[in-house]
């Protein structure tokens, strides 16, 4: 006898959470940025001790998922390579957790320039801006 028919559906929130985790772990990603409403929700959640609001927009459609991520990086990380790395990592993480095929849309919304940029850049293997005066 076959068992009862079971369907399995992964919610948007799951994909969003997994994607946010994976994207945050990519070297060079300083922060994920969300829109104003998401920021205020996140702050309210932090103050009230509730769960974080998702900072990633995710949509599941059948066996396909679509994820939009806004990331902030800092000078010294190649934006193109960073975007590719985020896409790879997020897509792999979502596939591993949920089995969904994922289209990852990455926007680098900001690049931090000053502060800790030099020593952070020195510790990475990504291509770097030649220091001024080196030529």
């Amino acid at each position: 006898m076959t068992g009862p028919r079971t369907t399995f559906h992964v919610g948007d929130g799951v994909v969003a959470r997994v994607a946010a985790e994976a994207a945050t772990g990519v070297p060079g990603v300083v922060a994920l940025r969300t829109d104003l409403a998401g920021t205020l929700l996140g702050l309210a959640g932090a103050v009230l001790g509730t769960t974080r609001a998702p900072v990633v927009a995710a949509r599941v459609d059948g066996t396909q998922a679509e994820v939009s991520i806004d990331v902030v990086t800092r000078l010294g990380f190649n934006c193109r390579d960073l975007a590719r790395a985020v896409q790879r990592e997020v897509s792999a993480a979502v596939a591993q957790y949920t089995g969904l095929e994922t289209l990852v849309r990455v926007t680098v919304v900001d690049v931090l320039l000053d502060g800790a940029a030099p020593q952070r850049a020195a510790s990475t293997q990504s291509p770097q801006v030649p220091p001024p005066g080196a030529r």
Binding site: R33, R80, Q87, V106
Partner: protein
């Protein structure tokens, strides 16, 4: 004590509300006993509950509401408010992101759509040029024309205005800036740059203690 909660237009009729008659047009539901809850709250706060308000279960519930809210509010108010350290940054960033028109540069990626904020890219190029000896970037604009579907996106174009330190050779300065922008575009942004328009709009001179001639304008 006949109370008709609503007449045809939703107006509340009250026979003994005293000072708390609602303004014309306001719709206020009275308690089941006919009292206005606001009056009861005021009395509870002032400690002037009358005999009815002490006995009536409806008024008693309203008084409990008032006490409960008071306790909750004062408890929350007494808690020290500790904002996360980056609260201002996060709100300001979100507001700016909301206000700013989003110009995006396409980033080439085999894994899916990727883009870079043009304002951030311009800021990177400005910062890189600023760090050069004898050069200051003033404005910078970078744009990348949208490609046709299925064709590779054409490279970006940069236009920039700079100021140079007095005494710098301008011909070599622009060549340096050009090289710097091309290199930074490729290495820091990952955006190929095909065209750099550089306009030197001004010269500046740093105060030099050894040459008094350079200080006359100050």
């Amino acid at each position: 004590m006949a109370v008709s909660p609503h007449d045809g237009r939703g107006r509340v009729a009250q026979d003994d509300a005293g000072a708390h008659l609602p303004a014309q047009g306001d719709v206020v539901e009275p308690l089941a006993c006919g009292r206005d809850a606001a009056t009861v709250w005021d009395h509870a706060e002032a400690g002037t509950l009358d005999a009815h308000e002490r006995e009536c279960p409806h008024c008693g519930a309203a008084v409990a509401d008032a006490r409960g809210l008071e306790a909750m509010v004062s408890r929350l108010a007494a808690q020290p408010l500790v904002p996360p350290p980056t609260v201002v940054d996060r709100v300001v960033g979100a507001v700016l992101a909301e206000l700013r028109p989003r110009d995006l540069l396409v980033l080439d990626s085999p894994y899916g759509p990727a883009a870079l904020d043009a304002t951030a890219a311009a800021a990177v190029l400005r910062g890189v040029v600023d760090a050069m000896d004898g050069m200051r970037a003033r404005s910078c604009r970078i744009s990348r024309p949208a490609g046709d579907a299925g064709r590779p996106v054409p490279p970006a174009e940069v236009s920039m205005t700079v100021t140079a330190r007095f005494g710098i050779e301008l011909a070599s300065a622009t060549a340096r800036v050009r090289q710097m922008v091309l290199a930074a575009g490729e290495q820091a942004l990952g955006v190929p740059v095909t065209r750099v328009d550089i306009e030197v709009v001004d010269v500046f001179d740093l105060p030099q203690p050894s040459s008094p001639a350079g200080r006359e304008g100050r």
